[in-house]
């Protein structure tokens, strides 16, 4: 089991930064800290601007200047917003279903030696299969593009959540198991009041990985045949060589992904307030 439990241990952004005081040298003041946090952004923006203005990139450069991109982004906002809503109608059902089934099945399997013997060999084989390979097959077999895309998002998000839920159930300390037995908790009470909350740190790690996968798979799936959505927006304007809009679409998708991950991190912090 232990090899199986060696999971993708991706951290949710902002959860494991080293303490500033641990670094040698003088601790910066509030202005210094504020500058540090935006320094990379300023450097990237400047590099982008310098490259787009001074490099000989032709009349329709693949790298339009920040100003032109910003204008394209502003003009495309209504279309991007509609694309966001379209993408969310794929991402939310797929991710929600993966979360629900991943948690329920992961905790059930993680607390039963028999179910582990039955399911974990299969999970070991099926889990690592890159979900992108399912996309053409899902489009061919399911009646609509939307259903296919939801299915692919579900598959991509399910395995990390399932695996982490199994690991979380395994990581439950013996003293809590003993305590639950002493209290005479029923199996359902044990799952709901002990295993689930104890496994939440692992589950949130799985959800963060699953959400990141969901965005990747969503945009990839939209390249295949969607008539709306963020991935489709980028692909559509790339086909027409409208690079300002294409770059605007990439930046906007990055922002939406960042906001979604930040929202999940916020829910994680609130839910795990008891971790000290």
């Amino acid at each position: 089991m232990s090899d199986y439990i060696a999971l993708v241990n991706l951290q949710i952004p902002g959860t494991s930064l080293p303490a500033a005081s641990a670094e040698p040298g003088l601790a910066p003041g509030w202005l210094g800290r504020a500058l540090e946090s935006v320094a990379v952004w300023i450097a990237l923006l400047l590099s982008w601007w310098v490259a787009s203005v001074y490099l000989p990139l032709g009349d329709n450069p693949l790298l339009p200047s920040p100003l032109i991109t910003a204008r394209a982004l502003w003009e495309s906002l209504p279309e991007l917003w509609a694309g966001t809503l379209s993408s969310l109608t794929i991402l939310l059902p797929g991710f929600a279903l993966a979360t629900l089934l991943g948690i329920v099945s992961g905790l059930t399997v993680g607390t039963s030696a028999r179910l582990q013997r039955i399911f974990l060999p299969f999970a070991k084989v099926a889990g690592p299969v890159p979900p992108t390979v399912y996309i053409p097959y899902a489009i061919a077999i399911l009646p609509t593009f939307k259903l296919s895309a939801i299915f692919v998002v579900f598959i991509g998000a399910f395995w990390p959540i399932f695996q982490n839920a199994v690991a979380g159930a395994h990581a439950l300390e013996q003293r809590y198991r003993d305590n639950a037995r002493i209290l005479g908790l029923t199996r359902l009470e044990y799952q709901r009041r002990v295993v689930f909350p104890a496994a939440l740190p692992h589950i949130f790690t799985g959800m963060a990985v699953g959400l990141a996968f969901s965005f990747i798979l969503l945009t990839v799936a939209e390249l295949f045949g969607a008539n709306a959505g963020l991935g489709r927006f980028v692909q559509y304007y790339a086909d027409f060589a409208d690079y300002p809009k294409m770059v605007a679409g990439i930046l906007y998708t990055g922002l939406v992904t960042f906001l979604a991950m930040t929202l999940l991190d916020s829910v994680r912090r609130r839910s795990l307030f008891w971790l000290k």
Partner: protein, 261 residues
């Protein structure tokens, strides 16, 4: 069958290691017994068997005549590491015990009762807090409150004050005695410790376990009256004599083991 906790020829092995061997002990109801022994003598294992958390390897273990085959609300446990669920508030940790012990009581009443247990143990400040917000001593009080809330007639305590500083330890010892002496009928308590003074101060009786394998090497009555007064006991000849006797027994057991090795 006599009431109380009875162990007849109880043994337990972990893989090929014999942890406990031929334990014969009878603890009548209402007695507070200190189970004393060096680290690795099988004290915790014995307690887990009595709690039903592990199955007896050989022999017979009964509580009030019925074989112990698994955990039961009849037998509450206080663990050394508190084992309060950190994701539940302190009140909810106790309420969950009341809900299991008395399922017909409504939730509002259960919460009020849980609050009362905390107040009785001097933990008013813990109401509305989570275990992670409390000190070690406060957490152990809350763990005792939960064990009391279960209403179990047998209380198994596994070095519950082992991780506390001396002041908190003394306070909780006194609190335990106060709660136990005031209750009617008195609970049967098996108190595991490796501290000789603590064992004598609390117990009616000392059961001393030797090591490798764990077995009873002494079963002694504590010749001290109740209620116990810590200061007056400091000068008690009986206490000093008993402490010497226990220490000598443990040293002798260690020497015998070294000789055998």
């Amino acid at each position: 069958m006599s009431p109380g906790l009875k162990l007849e020829g109880v043994g337990f092995a972990y893989d090929t290691t014999q942890v406990l061997q031929d334990i014969n002990v009878s603890i009548p109801e209402g007695q507070l017994v200190s189970l004393l022994g060096a680290s690795g003598s099988g004290k915790t294992t014995l307690l887990r068997l009595a709690a039903g958390l592990d199955p007896v390897g050989s022999g017979c273990l009964t509580w009030n005549g019925a074989p112990v085959v698994g955990p039961s609300l009849e037998r509450g446990v206080v663990f050394q590491d508190y084992a309060l669920f950190p994701w539940l508030s302190v009140v909810d940790n106790i309420e969950i015990a009341i809900a299991k012990a008395r399922p017909t009581v409504r939730k509002a009443e259960r919460l009020a009762e849980a609050g009362q247990y905390l107040r009785d143990l001097g933990l008013e400040v813990a109401i509305g807090k989570y275990p992670g917000e409390l000190s070690g001593g406060m957490r152990q009080r809350a763990a005792i409150a939960r064990a009391l809330a279960l209403g179990s007639p047998l209380l198994l305590m596994d070095e519950p004050f082992g991780a506390l500083d001396p002041v908190n330890r003394a306070r909780l010892q006194d609190l335990l005695l106060e709660v136990w002496e005031l209750a009617t009928p008195r609970k049967t308590i098996v108190f595991v410790t490796h501290d000789v003074d603590e064992a004598i101060y609390l117990g009616d009786r000392l059961i001393v376990l030797g090591s490798s394998p764990g077995r009873v090497i002494a079963d002694l009555e504590v010749p001290l009256g109740r209620p116990r007064e810590r200061r007056s006991l400091l000068d008690s000849h009986s206490l000093h004599a008993l402490r010497e006797q226990v220490a000598a027994t443990l040293v002798q057991d260690t020497l015998q083991r070294l000789k055998a090795a």
